[in-house]
Structure formats: structure tokens, C-alpha cells
Amino acid sequence: MKVPDKKENKKIKRSLFLIIVLIYFIFVFYSCIFNISSGREIGTNLLSFLSSMSKILPCAFILIGLFEVWVPRERVEKYLGYQGGLRGHIWAIILAGTMAGGLLVALPVSSALYHKGARPSAIFTFLGASAIVRIPMTLFEASFLGAEFTIIRWTVSIPLIIISSIFLEKYFTKEQFEIK
């Protein structure tokens, strides 16, 4: 009984998705023809975001692919796996700090890490850290808001991220969730 229900649900979701996307693009398209400012602005926003993403994302996915075929599972397990302990979190933070692209790149990376045997808490730390410790962004922040500002932000948020990741992992394993 439940299986066809789910299938039906998926079908509905899929058609809803297509309808939304279609309405959106028709609206933007018509706006460009009939010069409706709101739709045109939305269209320009889309293009500018798309162009900045199209520079980063293909590279990110190719690098992830290379990572998946070249880096042995044992290495990931050693640094980010269950025997890593607190060191695993530190590696996760270092990895996040040196990455470009933010959460949008960090998410597929974390999926690849998960399938190579990284433990969930290290992955949650990695995801959290990818939003707060990225080196180029941090330098930028410090130059506009002062180094003290950045130092406070790091020293407050990093321990909290690690602690919350440990708890989130407990919940994650208890509920038998998985990362796709």
C-alpha cells in the first residue's frame, strides 16, 4: 500500500516542480519582451548568479570526481572517520577553510566524503565551518570590520559548531538518516 503512495507523491512533486519552473521562465521571458521591470530585474539576477556559479561548479564537480577515484577510502577514514576523534574535527575545519564556493560546493563534497567513510559529526563540522572559516572570506572580513571582530567570531563559533555536530551525529545515527 505504501509504495505506490510514495510513487504517486513523487509524480505530483515532479509535475509541480516543472510547472513552477515553466511559469517562472515564461514570466521572465515575457517581461523581457514587454519590458516589465520586475521580471527583467529577476532575469538579470538569475543570469548574474548563474554566470558566477558556472565558473565554480563544473570545476568543483570534476574535482570531486577526481577525489572519488584517486583518494583511497582508508585515508578518509583515518582523518575524518570514526577513529579520528577531535582531530577529525580539526581536519574538517582545515579542509573547509581552504575551500572555495561555500555551502553549495561543500554539500556535494560532504556527500563524497560520507560515501568514503567520513563520520557524520566530522561532516557536520565541515559544513558548519565552510560557512565561517573560509580563508579568503575571512581576510576580507577582517580588513573591513577589524581583526578583533573576526577573532571573536572564530573563537565563539568554532567550539559551538563542533559541539553541535557531535549532538547532531547522535540524532543522525539514532534516526538512521543518511547523506545522499
Binding site: L46, L107, L160
Partner: protein, 160 residues
């Protein structure tokens, strides 16, 4: 631009050592991209609409109204839902600071902006599932508020 070169060099090296493995890597990359594409499209649509609804000038005006506490909450909320790239955020934060807006409010704005991903949420749900994605973002929101509070304490704006 540097990461395009890095990717290119690594890909060439990979093909030099093992072309079969490299082909496999490209197939994996393609599959991963197809997997996330629908959520990515939804995200793009969200971004374009949200950027339209919350342009830069309006963000600044939101942070000027109301009382101190209200401003902090507003800054955190605006920071959570908007998407402003890093190279715009910090100069913007610099302008806010020059306009005399307290550090606490700037911190609430920039940290939620960095940590809470309303716009990337559809993508995050596809990888982590609804529940984990939601919890993660709520935790991030709370951490961002704590950061803002400590920043306020440090600069003597928040007195306990």
C-alpha cells in the same frame, strides 16, 4: 579563475596516469551534477526573486529602524534570507559601520548571512534530508546570534 587552472592541471595529470580512472571521475562528476540539478534550479529561482525583493539599499534601511533589540533580530532575519556574495557583504558591513550602526547588529547580519542558508536550503535538503537540514540551519541561526551577543559584549554595546 585560479581554480579553473588547478582543475585543468589535475585533470590532465589524472589522464596521464590512468585514463580509465579519469573517465570514471568525469562520469561520476556528471552524475553528481544531474542529481543536484533540479534543486539547483529551484535555488536559482529563489535567489533571483529574493535579490529582487531585498536589494542592498533596502537592507541598510531595515537595519536603521526600530529599537536596538528589534534591529538585532531584524538584522539576523534579513541576513538569514538574503544572499549577498562575500565581496559585497563586507564592504557593505564597512558602510554600515561608518554609518554608526552598532557592531552587534552588523555581526548579527553578517554571521547569519554566512551561516544560515535559506536560499541553498533546497540543495541541502536533497543531500541531508529535510529534518537534518532544518536542524542544522536552526543551530546555525542560534550560533550566529550568540556570536553577535559576544561581539556586542566585547565592544561594550551589550551590558549584562
Amino acid at each position: 579563475m585560479w581554480f579553473i587552472y588547478v582543475t585543468g592541471v589535475l585533470l590532465l595529470l589524472s589522464f596521464f596516469f590512468d585514463s580509465n580512472k579519469s573517465k570514471k571521475a568525469l562520469i561520476l562528476a556528471y552524475r553528481r551534477f544531474i542529481f543536484i540539478f533540479p534543486s539547483f534550479l529551484i535555488m536559482l529561482i529563489l535567489v533571483s526573486i529574493i535579490l529582487f525583493l531585498f536589494p542592498q539599499e533596502r537592507i541598510i534601511s531595515y537595519l536603521n529602524k526600530g529599537s536596538y533589540i528589534v534591529n538585532i533580530m531584524l538584522a539576523a532575519l534579513v541576513g538569514s534570507i538574503t544572499a549577498v556574495p562575500g565581496f559585497i557583504v563586507f564592504p557593505l558591513a564597512g558602510i554600515l559601520k561608518a554609518n554608526g550602526i552598532p557592531y552587534t547588529i552588523i555581526a548579527a547580519f553578517t554571521t547569519t548571512l554566512m551561516m544560515v542558508g535559506t536560499i541553498t536550503f533546497p540543495v541541502e535538503v536533497t543531500y541531508l534530508g529535510k529534518r537534518i537540514a532544518l536542524i542544522r540551519n536552526v543551530i546555525s541561526f542560534i550560533i550566529a546570534l550568540i556570536v553577535a551577543l559576544v561581539v556586542g559584549l566585547y565592544f561594550g554595546e551589550v551590558i549584562l
